[in-house]
């Protein structure tokens, strides 16, 4: 994605050409150079083609067949798998669940993460320790996270006991068994695990903003709120937009947490696209249908990524380019 490629291209335009190319830019060397490139790139490329790209093409192929994963792939059924997926209420609800989680992530994690990052960006005693704590859940596996929360969320478990203890007993719910609640319970667990990632990214972004700018704003009479709104947030824009991108792509792929805590239940109320896919592909041996679902998931991710690049991230790269040109 040019998301990460563009800054390099900038540097390149600034004239940091490679030494080997300056040394060997003779026409006869062209083919030799390609062979060299091939030698260096081929192990990675072979691995990548075999285990990443080939399976995706195969998924696109199997998606047109009715197939249980065993025996020959012969029963071509055209777009029936796709039609079936979009007619299946369980699947469309799984898409909706992913969508809800995406929206919640932006609406809830962004302000909280931003607030905490701004806080940690001050001179604060124990800042390093706090940073370590906030980030710790990120390195734990989703499996461990899921098992811990599953136990804590049991009826009369730690969460319920704590809520009752602080006089919020009215909030106690069947966190994982109530079909109206379970998706939001998942969101809380996701937030617990991934908020630290947002904070770390935002902190890195904040530390890239020169203190002088805020001082200048203060001299011009800007209060803390104005300085935040007109100086800090706009400059943090690129970081926020990339966080949102990673967060959305990650949310679309959600599997481990849900699979362990609820298996997508109760009554499919916490299914995500990937749990639906695994359920149909591996538990019911509908490989053809599962592949079609995988293609839909991939298409959604891809369309989102391209649109996001084009309409949201483009501002960042354009800004960067005009800064260099101007």
């Amino acid at each position: 994605m040019s998301l990460v490629g563009s800054p390099d291209r900038r540097r390149e335009q600034a004239g940091a050409g490679s030494a080997s190319d300056r040394v060997r830019r003779r026409p006869a060397a062209g083919r030799r150079r390609l062979i060299e490139v091939g030698l260096f790139v081929s192990p990675a490329l072979a691995l990548y083609l075999a285990f990443v790209l080939l399976p995706i093409f195969l998924a696109a192929y199997y998606g047109f067949y009715h197939w249980n994963g065993l025996g020959p792939v012969t029963e071509f059924i055209g777009l029936d798998n796709y039609a079936r997926a979009f007619q299946d209420d369980v699947f469309t609800r799984a898409i909706l669940h992913n969508g809800i989680l995406v929206v919640l992530a932006i609406l809830v994690q962004l302000p909280i993460g931003l607030g905490l990052a701004l806080m940690l960006n001050q001179r604060l005693r124990g800042r390093a320790g706090l940073r370590l704590v906030f980030f710790a859940p990120y390195v734990l596996s989703e499996v461990i996270t899921a098992v811990i929360w599953q136990l804590m969320l049991q009826p009369d478990g730690l969460v319920d006991a704590t809520l009752r203890g602080v006089g919020l007993g009215g909030l106690v719910h069947l966190w994982l068994a109530d079909i109206r609640i379970v998706l939001y319970t998942m969101f809380i667990v996701i937030t617990w695990k991934y908020l630290g990632f947002a904070i770390i990214l935002f902190l890195a972004g904040l530390q890239g903003i020169p203190e002088e700018l805020r001082q200048a704003a203060a001299i011009d009479g800007a209060g803390p709120v104005q300085s935040l709104r007109h100086v800090t947030l706009p400059l943090l824009g690129p970081t926020i937009r990339i966080w949102a991108f990673l967060s959305i792509i990650g949310t679309l792929q959600l599997f481990d947490l849900i699979w362990i805590m609820t298996l997508g239940g109760p009554a499919n109320a916490s299914n995500s696209m990937v749990t639906y896919l695994i359920d149909h592909g591996f538990r019911r041996y509908q490989f053809g249908y599962g592949s079609a679902v995988a293609v839909i998931l991939f298409a959604i991710s891809l369309v989102f990524a391209i649109a996001y690049q084009r309409y949201v991230l483009r501002r960042d790269t354009e800004g960067a380019l005009t800064r260099i040109v101007g």
Partner: protein
Amino acid sequence: MNQMVAGHRRTAVTAPAVRRSLGQALTYTIALVVAAIIIVPLVYVVLGGFRTTGQIAAQPVALPQTWITRNYTDVLTSGTFWLQVFNSTLIAVIATAVVVGFGALAAFPLARFEFRGREILYTLFTLGLLFPVGVAILPLYLLLRQLGLLGTALGVALPEAAFGLPVTIVILRPFMRTIPAELEDAAVIDGCSRFGFFWRILVPLSRPALTTVAILSFVGSWNAFLLPLLVLGDPNGWTLPLGVANYSTQYTQDTARILAFTALSMLPALGFFVLAERRIIGGLSGAVKG
């Protein structure tokens, strides 16, 4: 800090200073509340392992009355735990070695050669950032079955390495770019081949970036669930996440034991994190900033 403390002492009576210390108190309160929300589940796991299931059920929020070590010793002497630690380590080491080795080789020309199709090749790799294992898992499973890799460590490690290549190349390429061209000129003049330059100069100089990608890959493999779940059928080949997930369903009635097992399986990742915190955080924010 010192300045602020000193200023605070001198002007403790004036309004801005009061406001500032109030603000600080508020900041600390919020920070501590959030830290507590994050830490409590982890402490709950570790302490719960020292209690009995009966105690946990009766009083979810409490310290151990007597510290019972049996849950932990049971896990540590069972053999299953250590087998899973070994399997996880083996797979993570293979995946990391492959992704760092292949990734560094590929990032070198992508960073420093000028050739037609370079950006297309790079885009092809970065496109993989959008392909999580979930999308490709069904055909991947069939592919591994055909290659006879189902149930083997390689069957998990190779696809993990393949899916780790995009982020590895994305981190390594800009880093390799920053190594001055003069060094390469000097090496060439001294009769170094391209591979010689790569191996003797570029790799040693890229060590910070290589460490970062190695850690990211190791942690990613260590924590992986979906791929091992489908590839490793035999419990003897299971990795720790599979063990944790299975333990929690196998001993549903024995909360304390699940907690002890989970706590022990948490330790390697947390220990690793404390040791390598800077690299992980630096790598992640560096990758995002480009």
